[in-house]
């Protein structure tokens, strides 16, 4: 069995550690072992005090996002063999406060997420007797890409704007807002736009670096969503200047 060194960030505030440090572990690996498998090996066989988040091991839950050799990745999708002969450096996702070891605090994101109302907003609900809100495959295609987001925070770790300004709602929250704006069943676009088109928090803070879309493990294009959102906001503002808009 091959072996590789994993340098894992440790931060234990209960042990008066002032800042994170790297701890090296020698782990065995097979060809199909992921970085998450390596961490699980450390946790199970070498050092049970290591803390990190994980759940599904198949790129669906979005909980195992970490920095792998400086790149934001889902550790269940990053293979150790791709980093041989090593070492593989594993750190908590960039830009978020570190709670312990590889666990980050995502409360800020959750606050932003709720504010953009990522659910179907209806001004008027039709009676249940009238049936469901139907949608054609073409209408589904318009927003489907954005519905693939798994809230893994990889895009936030790739975004330098979020790193510099935590008030920025960030790529995933805005892409999810756009996902519902583009949904033919939704009527909440104006409410979301009012929130996202003003101040530090919204779409204008994005400078289109584009790394959020490059890093996304699910092929979502948050950067594109934000730029399209800007176009919509600009057209909306232009519309308010035209006399026809009053009618």
């Amino acid at each position: 069995m091959n072996r590789i060194t994993m340098e894992v960030a440790r931060y234990r505030p209960d042990q008066e550690e002032a800042e994170p440090t790297l701890q090296a572990y020698e782990v065995p690996y097979e060809r199909e072992w992921t970085v998450l498998d390596g961490l699980n090996h450390i946790k199970d066989e070498i050092d049970g005090t290591l803390s990190y988040r994980w759940s599904c091991r198949m790129g669906v839950c979005g909980s195992c996002g970490m920095m792998v050799n400086g790149e934001p990745k889902l550790t269940c999708g990053a293979f150790l063999v791709d980093h041989a002969p090593g070492p593989v450096r594993v750190e908590p996702l960039k830009s978020f406060p570190i709670v312990r070891d590889l666990v980050v605090d995502i409360e800020e994101f959750l606050t932003h997420l709720v504010r953009v109302e990522p659910w179907l907003v209806r001004n008027e609900e039709k009676p249940i007797a009238e049936g469901e809100y139907r949608q054609t495959p073409d209408e589904l295609d318009i927003y489907k890409q954005y519905s693939m987001c798994i809230n893994c925070m990889i895009c936030y770790a790739a975004c330098p704007v979020y790193a510099l300004d935590p008030q920025f709602a960030g790529p995933a929250a805005i892409a999810l807002a756009q996902r519902y704006n583009l949904d033919s069943r939704d009527q909440g676009a104006e409410r979301r736009l009012a929130h996202l088109s003003s101040g530090h928090e919204g779409i204008w803070a994005c400078t289109f670096v584009g790394e959020c879309s490059v890093a996304c493990p699910k092929g979502v294009d948050p950067a594109g969503a934000i730029q399209r959102y800007k176009l919509t906001a600009a057209m909306d503002w232009l519309g308010t200047l035209l006399p026809l808009a009053e009618r």
Binding site: E19, P97, I98, V99, P160, P166, V209, R228
Partner: protein
């Protein structure tokens, strides 16, 4: 970093500050900053054209003096760098067009390469038109 930008989080959480040199940490970040910096050269090219028009309006002597000034090494080098930066500015923004603008032909979205390609075609057409205008005189 100002106080209002301080990150929240649990009391014992370790908060990291973004480095001033973040744009040097990864090539895509540097390419982004370079793309933004090209705006300075776009501004300079506009100023140069405005100066050219002003000189043309003032008469032949001023017009020739302007070109003599433009032929000085400093301005030649500046304009050479400006041309490179303008091309970079144009290429990067044209390539980003499909990400921003989604047009549909019937029910299908127009493919990204077609969207970007139409901008390149328009650019080529304007360039050929201007070249024809200048050469044919």
């Amino acid at each position: 970093m100002s106080a209002h930008l301080a990150r929240s989080g649990p009391p014992h959480a370790y908060r990291r500050k973004a480095s001033t040199w973040w744009w040097l940490t990864r090539w895509p970040y540097f390419a982004f900053v370079l793309r933004e910096m090209t705006s300075v050269f776009v501004a300079w090219s506009v100023v140069w054209v405005l100066l050219l028009l002003r000189a043309a309006g003032l008469g032949e002597i001023q017009y020739r003096q302007f070109f003599a000034w433009s032929a000085s090494p400093l301005i030649l080098i500046s304009n050479g760098v400006t041309v490179v930066m303008l091309v970079y500015h144009t290429l990067t923004w044209f390539n980003l067009v499909p990400r921003v603008m989604v047009f549909r032909f019937g029910r299908r979205p127009i493919p990204g390469p077609v969207m970007a390609g139409s901008h390149y075609l328009a650019w080529a057409a304007v360039t050929v038109g201007l070249a024809w205008l200048l050469v044919s005189r």
